[in-house]
Each structure stands twice: as structure tokens, then as C-alpha cells.
């Protein structure tokens, strides 16, 4: 089959690789209908997250049709149209049973690679470095899905492929970030980042009862989406002297009740601190640029909640004293998609949520490298590039 492979730092190529096979009895093989780019892919494409190997198939956000099932698969059948969360989960370990799905104990065959860094292993992910399992990704014609009965979610009639596609990762990640905030009626939520996850976090904040949502970014077309598609107020951080001051004024001096970081380790920013961050990361003196995260910590009201969705490595220069003195609650996770998917599908069916506007660009799989280029450089208003491999 054809697949998009990582051949080195900033070197992607569409290659002919072997077809995936049923390996374990709970596997299914999915014919991929759609897959999409994700900001976290950029971190290993750029080489900031290690443990990719030349020739690995990438891509972790996808939906498709089941074409083959293993002997122990009970609920999923050939022909089913399904969406699959990006984390591979067994459904039976302590973490899965406590709705902490991305922390599954049993799906990362190379968990020992993570333990020196994290202390304990996390679940495996499709197409996302060997530390996260080394599973082949979904920017391909076919993909193997382990533990299909747990990880495949039927897409109901009336839900389009594109709507379902983003329920794989962007929507549950954003929704989880808003859920972490414990939003009460009348509250204000600020979200750093107006990419796919940030926009979905803003939408989810409204669905969960926020009165006001503020989106922060620098790209006019993304800020426009936040205003027009989500109904958020927006701040372009390049056009204001101080995001902190603007947020204070928007909230009568109190600050947002909750702040969500949907940016992560490759944050852009302005001023000296951003330049220093960038230089230190380039010189491998630090793994992360923490501009957005630090700003969110500073802006959050006293006693508020900080929800971190952005992907980080081992960040230094972390302002713990601010968190401690302001009494912030910090919550973070990789997405627990299996927890949220049923209710997200309901939102889509009821017409309360339509994430398909994230799909600003479509490509054949053969053009995927161009799609990533556009996505990475945010050219032509690209929020998400969708690949159609078949």
C-alpha cells in the first residue's frame, strides 16, 4: 500500500510499504477514508521529539471502514464506518477502567523507552514515535487497529466523514481541556491557540456552560474562525501590547476563571523572552518553548484552573511559584478520547457541534507532504489538511 513516511527531520515522503495484517486477535484492519494533520506531528517532524525511525508511517487522526477483523473481535464488523481515537487502549486495565484512557498500561510495546523520561509508560499511539509504541500511522491506505471493540466507534447515519474525522483527536482533546476546567455558569475561559484543538476547546467551553470564551492567536484567519464558527472573542497577541492587560480589562480586572493552553512546545511569541526561548530550543538547551504556557499561568485569575493540552517535553523555566502563590489548579493529559466519543457523537447528531469547518484543505495521499508543508507554515489559511488515501 501507499503511506506517508517520516524519512528524517523535515523529510516526509509517500512510499510503498507492506499492507498491515491482523497480528493480535482483537485487531481489525481499517481502510482509511480520511486522515488529518495534527500539530503534535510537527514536533517529531521538526525533530524536537525523538525516537522516530526512518521509514515510519505517521498519522494518528483518522476514520475509515473496517475491512478485516481478528478472531476475538466481537462488536465491530466488516463494513462498519468507524472513527478511532488516536490512543490505543485495552479497555481492561485500571487506567482504562477509570476513564484515564491515554494512560492505558497494555498497549505500548516499547513502554520502557518512556520510563526514564516519564517514570511510567503511557498508552501507544498510531504513527507517533517509538516511545509511544512505534505503531504504524494512518496516513496510509490501510491501518491496523488493535483492541477494536474498545477503540472503534460506529459513526451514526447523518454524521459525515469529515465530522467524524475530527472526533478522532482534535475534538476530544479540546473537549477534555474544557472539561478539566470545571466550568460554572457565568465563567470566562481563555484559550491560547486557535488551531484545531484550540477552536474545539473554545466550542466545548461554550457547550459546558461558559459565558464568555476568549481565543488567543496571531493568524487573522484562525481568529476569524474563532469568532465566526465558535462565537469567541479574540485577541491577536501581535496586535496588543499585553495579552495579560487585555484579558484583565475583558474580565473587570479579575482574569479568566480558567485558561487552556492549546499551543504546546513550539509556541511562537513576541519580545525578548520568545527569542530566547527559540534560541535555547534550537541549541537543544531546552526541549520546549513555553511562551504560551507562561502567559496562561500569568493571566489566570487567582484560584483559577490551568488546563494544558499543548504537547510538552521536559520543560524547564517553569513558573511554579506563580502557580503556587496564586493557588491555581493545574490539569493536563493527552486526550482520553474513548471517554468522550459517545457524548461527542451525540452533540454532532443533535447539531450542537460540527467540527468539519476545521478541514480547510484536502489532498490525495500522494500530495500529503505538500499538505504538511501548508499546515506547518499555516499558509493559505490552512487549519487542518485532510488526506484522502483511497
Amino acid at each position: 500500500m501507499r503511506a506517508l513516511c517520516w524519512n528524517g527531520i523535515n523529510d516526509l515522503g509517500v512510499e510503498t510499504v507492506g499492507d498491515p495484517r491482523i497480528v493480535n486477535p482483537r485487531d481489525v484492519i481499517l481502510q482509511v477514508k480520511m486522515s488529518t494533520t495534527c500539530g503534535s506531528d510537527l514536533h517529531f517532524i521538526d525533530g524536537y521529539i525523538p525516537s522516530m525511525r526512518k521509514g515510519d508511517v505517521i498519522g494518528h487522526e483518522f476514520m475509515g471502514t473496517v475491512v478485516e477483523t481478528g478472531p476475538e473481535v466481537k462488536k465491530v464488523h466488516v463494513g462498519d464506518r468507524v472513527v478511532v481515537p488516536s490512543f490505543i487502549c485495552c479497555g481492561s486495565c485500571w487506567y482504562c477502567q477509570h476513564d484515564l484512557w491515554s494512560l492505558c498500561d497494555n498497549t505500548n510495546p516499547k513502554g520502557e523507552l518512556q520510563e526514564p523520561l516519564f517514570g511510567y509508560q503511557t498508552a501507544g499511539i498510531y504513527g507517533y514515535t517509538h516511545a509511544f509504541g512505534g505503531y504504524a500511522g494512518a496516513h496510509a491506505q490501510f491501518v491496523r487497529v488493535p483492541h477494536a471493540d474498545t477503540d472503534c466507534f460506529q459513526v451514526p447515519e447523518g454524521v459525515t466523514d469529515e465530522q467524524a474525522l475530527f472526533l478522532s483527536d482534535a475534538v476530544p482533546t479540546g473537549y477534555m481541556g474544557a472539561d478539566f476546567c470545571g466550568i460554572q455558569p457565568g465563567q470566562t475561559v481563555a484559550v491560547w491557540g486557535c488551531g484545531g484543538v484550540g477552536l474545539m476547546a473554545q466550542k466545548a467551553a461554550f457547550l459546558l456552560g461558559a459565558e464568555r470564551v476568549v481565543g488567543i492567536d496571531r493568524y487573522p484567519e484562525r481568529l476569524k474562525l474563532a469568532r465566526e464558527q465558535v462565537g469567541a472573542e479574540t485577541i491577536s497577541y501581535e496586535e496588543v501590547d499585553s495579552v495579560l492587560d487585555v484579558l484583565k480589562e475583558l474580565t473587570g480586572g479579575r482574569g479568566p476563571d480558567a485558561c487552556i493552553d492549546a499551543v504546546g512546545m513550539e509556541a511562537h511569541g513576541t519580545g525578548v523572552v520568545a527569542a530566547v526561548d527559540r534560541a535555547r530550543q534550537a541549541l537543544h538547551l531546552q526541549s520546549d518553548r513555553g511562551q504560551a504556557l507562561r502567559q496562561a499561568i500569568l493571566a489566570c485569575r487567582k484560584g483559577g484552573t490551568l488546563s494544558v493540552l499543548g504537547v510538552y517535553g521536559v520543560m524547564d523555566a517553569f513558573p511554579m511559584g506563580v502557580i503556587m502563590n496564586k493557588g491555581l489548579t493545574v490539569r493536563s493529559a493527552q486526550q482520553h478520547g474513548q471517554k468522550y466519543l459517545p457524548r461527542l457523537l451525540e452533540h454532532v447528531v443533535k447539531g450542537e457541534l460540527d467540527p468539519s469547518f476545521l478541514a480547510t484543505h484536502r489532498f490525495s495521499l500522494e500530495d500529503a507532504p505538500r499538505g504538511y508543508e501548508l499546515f506547518k507554515k499555516k499558509q493559505d489559511g490552512c487549519v487542518r489538511a485532510v488526506f484522502l488515501p483511497n
Binding site: M1, A3, C5, N7, G13, E15, T16, V17, G18, D19, P20, R21, V23, N24, P25, R26, R53, K54, G55, D56, V57, E72, I88, C90, G91, S92, C93, W94, Q97, D105, N106, T107, N108, P109, G111, E112, E115, P116, G124, G133, G134, Y135, A136, A140, R144, P146, H147
Partner: protein
């Protein structure tokens, strides 16, 4: 950390007596170090064998020996490597050689009762799957298990093991029997974990190689790999029991190795 020098011939006898003593007392804490040692040694051994070189084998053997000896101390274990409880003991061997002895122990927590997990472990097929990353374990009659670590100089390293102590739902100890290049033993312990965590399982391996000891060099050359062997065995057991299968990406579509990777 200094220990009395034992003549090689007396070593096994001494060990046996100590084990028996401990077994009678059934102080499971006292038994743990021995099992862990066995596990570590096994790991070293396997790795060395896999390398298919004489040096590797020697290292493996030496590492195993170190492990076993470490178990015989009553020192508290201390952490030496990532997540691996290692204990070391310097012991003089012969006139001019000092070796560092290493004991390794790993624990994991998984869903299930100690009784159910113990029964699962006792299933010969389970052990074969759990140890499948380095050894084939088959029932060889008379209650013996046959262990086979493939690929040493194109030959396999093999031994029979017998269960020497059995406390259903709690502890199982085994030991190699007869003439083998790699005398070893191991144990596994099951203890109820708090709240709804299920059961904590602890595993040790002790290998006791004969003859020349490469010792410290073996452990150093093997690096963190021996600890991975024990850890992987436990992880494989956990996944097998909880998720019904052991996770793998083999073979995996990729633009290498003929379109696949492992």
C-alpha cells in the same frame, strides 16, 4: 559488603542449605532477593546468548553469577538503575578476582485476585508466552519445565527447571536441575494490592554461572538490558491477563526492511 570467600565447590551446597532454611521459615521477604537474582541472571544470560558471541555468553553467565551472589546478602536493596532494584555485593573469587554481585527485582500491579493470577502463572503455556521475548518454556514431564534460550553460537542454551516451593495464591519458586551451563532459580510472588488495584506481582531471577567470572564487565556491557528482561516478562504477563494479548508492532508497515519493520 565484604563476604567470606567460599570455595567454588562449597558454594552450591551452602546456597542450598540457605534456601532450605529460608523455605522452612517461609519468610517470603527473605526469598525475594534470590528470585530476583535469578531473573536478572536469566536476562543477562539471554542477552549474551542472543548476541551469539562467546563474549556475550561469558558476560551473561558472569552477570548471572553476580546476581545470585547478591541475593545471599542480607543488605537492603538500593536503586542503581532506572526503576530496577539492584543490590550489589563485592565478593572475592579466587585469589585475584573481585566481582560485583547484582540482584534485580521488578514488581507490577495488575487487575485480578492473587489466586486467579497465581493459577494463570502456573499454566505452562502462560510462562511460555510471558518469557517468549527471550526463552521458550515448555512442560517436559515429571513436573519439569524445559527452558530454551535460542541462538547461542547457533545452538540453544537449555535447562530443566523444577518447582521447589509452592504456596498457591502467594509464591512460586523454581530452580534448574541437573547439569546445566547455567544453574539458576527464580520466584514470583502475588500480593493483594490496596483498593481496586488488584494484585502486586514481584518477580526475581538468580543465575549462578560456573567457572570463570567476567563479573562487573558483564553487567556493564549489558547495561540496562537485563532489567528490561525482567520488566518485560512482567509487562507481558500483565497484558496477557488484562488485555488478552501481548502488544506488538511486529510486523509493522514501514518503508524499510521489505516494507515492514519490527
Amino acid at each position: 559488603m565484604r563476604d567470606t570467600i567460599q570455595p567454588p565447590g562449597a558454594r552450591l551446597g551452602d546456597r542450598g542449605r540457605r534456601l532450605l532454611e529460608r523455605g522452612r521459615r517461609f519468610d517470603s521477604e527473605a526469598l525475594l532477593p534470590q528470585l530476583a537474582s535469578a531473573l536478572v541472571g536469566g536476562t543477562l544470560l539471554t542477552l549474551g546468548l542472543r548476541r551469539g558471541r562467546l563474549g556475550g555468553v561469558a558476560m551473561a553467565l558472569a552477570g548471572g553469577g553476580l546476581l545470585f551472589r547478591g541475593t545471599r546478602t542480607d543488605q537492603e536493596p538500593h536503586v542503581r538503575k532506572h526503576g530496577v532494584v539492584v543490590r550489589t555485593l563485592r565478593r572475592q573469587r579466587g585469589r585475584d578476582t573481585t566481582v560485583e554481585l547484582t540482584v534485580l527485582q521488578r514488581s507490577i500491579t495488575l487487575q485480578g485476585t492473587p489466586d486467579a493470577l497465581y493459577r494463570r502463572w502456573r499454566d505452562p503455556e502462560t510462562l511460555n508466552q510471558v518469557m517468549g521475548h527471550f526463552a521458550e518454556v515448555t512442560a517436559s514431564g515429571d513436573g519439569l519445565q524445559h527452558w530454551k534460550v535460542p541462538g547461542v553460537f547457533g545452538k540453544a542454551l537449555e535447562w530443566d527447571a523444577e518447582v521447589v516451593e509452592e504456596h498457591p495464591g502467594e509464591l512460586l519458586r523454581w530452580r534448574s536441575v541437573g547439569d546445566t551451563a547455567l544453574p539458576n532459580e527464580g520466584w514470583v510472588r502475588f500480593r493483594r494490592a490496596p483498593a481496586d488495584w488488584g494484585t502486586s506481582v514481584t518477580l526475581r531471577f538468580v543465575f549462578d554461572p560456573p567457572g570463570g567470572v567476567v563479573g562487573e564487565k558483564a553487567v556493564k556491557l549489558l547495561g540496562a538490558l537485563p532489567s528490561l528482561l525482567a520488566l518485560k516478562a512482567l509487562k507481558r504477563f500483565k497484558s496477557l491477563v488484562e488485555a488478552g494479548e501481548i502488544p506488538t508492532t511486529r510486523p509493522n508497515p514501514a518503508a524499510r526492511e521489505g516494507g515492514y519493520s519490527s
